[in-house]
Structure formats: C-alpha cells, structure tokens
C-alpha cells in the first residue's frame, strides 16, 4: 500500500516536472511555428467533427429529459436555461476534454511512445535537438489553446440541439426559452467553462506526452502507456473539475 502511494506521488511529481520543463522550453528559441500550427490543426480542426456530434446530441438529449421533468410542473420553457447552464459550466468542458483525451491524448502517447521505443528520441538528442521542445511543447500549447475553442463550439452546438428539440419539436415558447437562458446563465459561466477547458487541455496533453515519453518495453509498453495515459487523464479531468468548480462557483 505504502509502495503504491509512493509510486503515485513519484509519478505525479514527474508529470509536474515535465510541465515545468514545457514552460521552460516554451520561451527559448528556436520557435517552430509550423509544428505548432500542425499540432493545432490536429487537436482542434481534427476534433471538430466528434465535438459537434457529441455536443449536439448532448444538448438534444438533455432537452428531451428536461422537458419530461419540467413538464410535470408545466414549466417546459425552463429547459433552455437549465441545459445552457449545465453545458456552459460542466458538460462542455468535461465532455469535450474526454473526447479530446480519447482522440488526441491517446495519439500523443502512442506517437511519442513509439518514437521512444524505436530510439528516434535518442537520435534526436544526438542531433542536439531537445525532444521536449520539439515534440511536447507544440502539443501542449496546441491543446491548451484549442480545447477552450472546442468547448465554446460544444456549448454552441449543444444549445442548437436543445433548441431543435425544445422549440422546434416540442413547441416550447421561444421567448420564454431565451428568457430563461438569460435569467439562469451569466457570462461568467461561459468564461469559467472556457478556463476549465484550458486547464484540462494542459493536463491531458502533459499526461499523454509524459506517458509516451517514458514508455519502454517495445510495442506492448507503448500500448500500456497509451491506456494509462487515457485513464489517468480522464481521472485528472474529473478531479480537476471538482476542484475548479469548488473554486469558481
């Protein structure tokens, strides 16, 4: 038991140290703009489809359940406000981060892990190219910037899904629908959700890169690193979500 606790703390410390290394190497030349752009495209543009899909259906199903629940009190119009608040505060940052973890975090761990076990990273160091600066810095910054953008898109399409179900399908009054959104939700809810997403993005990318960077044991080790990265990042998202929610709201 004690051994497990020590191992956990050791792992946590190494992840935090890698985060500081990322910060350190972020502001030292050379600045590889092309790599940064490609990472942003991979993280942000590449995840658009899955985010739009999950976001719209999340908003729609929330509206459906909400209408059934509020219908008992004949207050179906409140579904707009309640879904908007849930999306902005919790669902968008958490679900978008989980989607990106599954798609991007695992990919980072696999890609960097494969480079590690095939000694490409060692070759990079031999050529005096810092692997953290070359491989990890662009990925971490790209995820930190693009996950908030994906979170905003998630919220937006989620509300579109909610609107379609509530107003178009169930004929909820549009004016009351919008009025409850304005009444329930404030701009700080959206901003705090975006901040949450940014923190999640940093966390999941650092964990994914760290697990890949420290992978060993050939193909099997890469697979294990990928699995661990996804699980660890997912748990981290929920833990950080609780802490941030307690601080923000």
């Amino acid at each position: 038991m004690l051994r497990a606790v020590i191992n956990f703390l050791d792992e946590l410390g190494r992840i935090v140290l890698m985060f500081f290394q990322v910060l350190y190497w972020s502001f030292r030349p050379p600045f590889r703009f092309g790599l940064f752009m490609r990472s942003m495209e991979f993280v942000g543009v590449g995840s658009l489809f899955i985010i739009i899909l999950t976001g719209s259906f999340t908003g729609a199903v929330m509206a459906l359940q909400g209408i059934y629940a509020f219908g008992i009190l004949e207050m179906e119009a409140m579904v707009g406000g309640s879904v908007a608040l849930a999306l902005a505060r919790e669902l968008s940052p958490v679900l978008a981060a989980l989607m990106v973890t599954g798609r991007v975090g695992s990919s980072m761990a696999t890609e960097i892990g494969t480079m590690r076990v095939t000694e490409q990273i060692d070759a990079m160091e031999t050529l005096a190219v810092n692997p953290i600066q070359y491989l990890i810095v662009p990925r971490v910054w790209a995820t930190t910037i693009m996950l908030p953008a994906l979170c905003v898109i998630f919220t937006f399409v989620g509300m579109v899904g909610c609107y379609l179900v509530a107003v178009v399908w169930f004929q909820v009054d549009y004016g009351l629908f919008m009025a409850y959104i304005k009444s329930f939700m404030g701009s700080e809810d959206i901003i705090n959700g975006v901040i949450k997403a940014s923190v999640f993005g940093t966390g999941l990318s650092v964990i994914g890169c760290y697990k890949g960077y420290t992978a060993d044991g050939g193909a099997r080790g890469v697979g294990a690193a990928t699995t661990t990265a996804v699980v660890l990042a997912s748990v981290m998202i929920f833990v950080l979500d609780y802490l941030l929610t307690a601080m923000m709201f």
Binding site: M37, E41, F156, G186, V194
Partner: protein
Amino acid sequence: MRVGAIRAPVLVGVMLIATIFGFIYMVSVVKTSVFSSDDTYLVYAIFDDVTGLVEKSNVNMVGIPVGTISSIERVNTEAGVQARVGIRVDRKVILYAGEKGPDGRLRGAAAVVRKQSSILGDFFLALAPGAFGETLQEGDEIPLVIGVSGLDAIFAQMEKMEHVGERLDRILVHVEEISGGLAEVIGSDVGRTNLKDIVANLKDISGESKSIAQRARRVSEEIERIVQDGTITRIAANVEETSLDARKIAQKLEAIVSAGDVQKLVDTLAETAGQLNNVGLQLNDLVESGISPRISQLERIFHNFERFSQFVADFSDNNRQTLTDTLNNFKDFSGGLVTLLQRSQGDVEAAMSTVKGTLLSAQLSLQKLDESLENVREISAGLREGKGSIGRLLTDDRLVEEIEEIVADTKGFVKSYTLMKTEVELASSYNLYEQSFKNILSLRFRPKEDKYYLLQVVDDPRGSVSDVFITTTTNDPGKPPAVKEHVQETSHALKFSFQFAKKFYFLTGRFGIMENSGGLGLDFDFFKDRLQFQFDLYDFTMNDNPRLRGLIQFEVANHFFVSGGVDDILNNDYRDYMFGAGLRFTDDDLKALLLAAPSISP
C-alpha cells in the same frame, strides 16, 4: 505557395475566428446585467426578511429592469437584526425621498417591494420612484420598504387567523353535543312518549291561544281608541322633530365627507404633478451619454492636423525654391555646354597650328615631369610617416574605425528609408441601413515587413458626434433648482485614425487613435495578405457596448480588392452591414516626400 503549406494555418484561423464569434455571441446573449457601475448609483433598503433574494438579480420598475441587487448584508438596527440590500439603480431613474404631510405621513416617496416571482419561492425587488421631495443620491436609503406581498402576505394573514380556527373547533364540539342530545331525546321510546306529551300540551296551548287572541282583539280596540283621541298624533310630531334634527346632523356629516374628498383630490393632483415632473427629468436625462472628453481630443487632433498642413505648406514652398535653383543651374550648365561645343571647332584648328610648338615644348615638359616625380616621392615618404591630414587618415587606425562606423550608420539610415514602403489605400463601402457610403483614405508607412504606421482620413455617414452639457439653475420655487441638459451634436466632419501595427506571422495587432477615439484592431492575413479578416474595437463610451467592426477584404486583382462585413456588432440598435471595394498601391512619390522631408527642416 503550396496548398499543403497553408492548409493548417488557414483551417486553424478559420476555426478560431468561428470560435471567437460564437463566444462573443453567447456572452452577449446571456449578459445578465446591462448596468455598469458608471451608469448607476447605489441606494439601500432595509428588510426584515430577504429570503429568496439573491445578489445580481434584477430590480424592476413596472416590469422593466432598472437595476440589480449588488449586495445583501446583515446589519444591527434599532429594530434588531435586519438585512440591508444594496441596489444599483440606473442613473436615468430618479427616486424621490418624499415629503411629510400635515398628518405626519410620508407622501410621494420611493418604495421598494419584495415580490414573489413564482410559487417556487423566488423573489425579486420592484421599485416605485415616488413623486416629489428630494432625489435620492448615492448611498441614500429608500424610505418605504414593503417586505411581504403576494402569497406571503396571504399566508401571514392566515397565520394571524389561527385563533379563529380554535374557536370554530370548540363550536363544532358544542354542536355535536347538542345534536347527540337531540338524538337521544327524540330517537328513544321515552322520547316518543315525551313527544306525545308535547303534542297534547300543544293542544292545550292552542286552546289557551284562542283565549289570548280574544284578549288581543280587545287590546287592539283599545289602541284604536287611543289613536282616535290624538295620542298617536302627538307621538308622530315628536318623531318628526327628531327626524329634522337627524337630517341636520346628516348634512353636517356630508359637509365633512365632502371636505375630505376635496383634500383627497388635492393630494391626487399633487402626486400627478410630481410624477409629471419626474417624467420630465427622466426625459432630460434620456438624452444623456457622455463623450465630453472627446471635445478636447478633437481639438488636439485638429491642432495636430493644422500643424501638419502648415508643415506640408512650408515644405512645398522650400521645395519650389530648390527646384527653381536646380533648373537654373541646369540651364547654366546646358548653356556652357553649347558654348564649349562652339568653341571646340576653332580650338582644333588652332591646335593643329600649334602642334609643332607643342612638340618643341615636350622636351621641356619631360624635364619638369622628372622634377614632379621627385616631389611625389617626397610626399609619399611624408604620408608614410603620418604627416598631414591624409597621412593621419592612412596611418591612424582609430580614425579609420570612426569613419567606418559613420559609414555603417549612414548605410543603415539610408537602408531604412530605402526599405520603407508607403502604401496608399482608397476604400469605399456602402452601409445598408444608413443607405450611404463610407470612404476611407489610408496611408500605411511600413519601415519593416512586420510593422507599419497607419494614417487614415474617414468620411463616416454617422458623422462626428460631440456632447454638450448645459446646467441651468434657477431660484424659482416652482421649478427644479437645477436642470442638467445633455445635447449630442452630430456634424458631418471627417474623422482621423493613427495607429501602430505589429505583425506576428498571419496575425497583426493594431492600436492607437481609431476614428477620433482610442481603439484596438486585430487582422488575420492569409494567402500572402490577399485575404484579410479585420476586427476593430473602438468608441467605448458612445453606446452601451463598444463599437466592434468585422470586415473581410479579398484582393481579387492586383491593387483592387472587395470587402464586406458588419459594423457595430455589439449594439443592436446601430448594427449595420456593409460591402464595398477599394484600391491599394505603393506610392513612390510619397516615399520620396518622406526622404526629402528631413532635409527641409531649418
């Protein structure tokens, strides 16, 4: 450029722009409060109970939000522990402190009511402005506070009626006992026997009643006799006198009641007058919004522009003189050249005749050349020893280094001017709602590829707006002591922009003066700057929100671009859509003007 090389930046840029638009839209939709601290003043209200009230919730007047709850705190007052609610009220809404009437009651004062918004227990505050008295200022307390209303008030009344229920309970118990007794009396055999006895008794009573009726008849005969002898007439006269007195009393009461109606009517008229006064003041303040500081900015801008035009006028005068001198010199030079050519023909002929003499003197010249060579040898020896200015130049390393530095500095100076690009842009766009054109003349001075200075002259259909504040004071007791008047003057005048811009890859940030106001700009450039997404944020004080303009420009051919976008995105009442076209080219003449400008300085 390969498509693959720009694919990632373009996609990322488009996605980020879409995200920014989505973010701005959502924030603008859900913005809970339109009242900033600058537009409001703080007043307080003391409540016994604030259950259901929350901070940042709206405060309404006739159902329209006019403020927000800024704070709720517990305070100790003479009445015990109470809750003090801070309310931020729109400055356009005037609240009155009211006045005490002869009866000591407060009249025409502002009131705040805690109202229930739903059966779920949510509450909000409703304000009534009052009608007369002094106006409430920052930190004042609202005089009338009604903490309980609606269902809460009904429940409170019902709580007071609890003792009635207890009495009803007791009455019901008594009724039950009585009905039980009756059932016992009537329903049993004894009861039935008793009833028979009662019927028998009633028979006896009816017999007795017959005799009583006979006696009554005799009594009526006696009464008739009394009437006939005048006794009743006297009683009637007394009753009439009494009724006259009662009528007089009734008339006096009516007079008192009437007097009360007049007083009520007077009170109503006074309240109405106060409300009309309130409406007048609100209409005055409705005109208000302030950009008074811009008057001084405009004055400075016009002063600077006057200096600039004076400077250009001076330069043109000096340049004209310089050009005139240059032309005169060129004329003299060409005249000399013609004279020289005319003379050359005669010189050739003369030279031919003197060739013989020249050959004879050549021998003497060779001797002089020998002497000259000797002098040159002596001079070169002196230079080697570092004698004289040229000798120092050749032998003193420090002097050479200084000269090299000067040359390098001069080279850099000349290079900066040589590399400076001057771009001229003339753009015109049509505003759909304004139904007029907006014209912009831009000069872009670009000393480096990644930065430039932007100077613009703008002809905006909205014109230039200036604020005038007029305060009128009077001693007339029938009028308000001071009336503040805010007049906005819109004139058709040019606007000016001067901005500094710095470019980072495809992103360009700008800041500076933007159409006579401070502003920020952000440009996204793609396809070698042929496609540009332009965002300008400025004019922060004119309306509720700053003026945000989004514009897309695409260069369809060399020097020619088309554009389209939305102006004043954040203000619904002023939002406008525009499309247009323009020309953009590099003007070498302006570049030459800049090169010449320092040389004409005295």
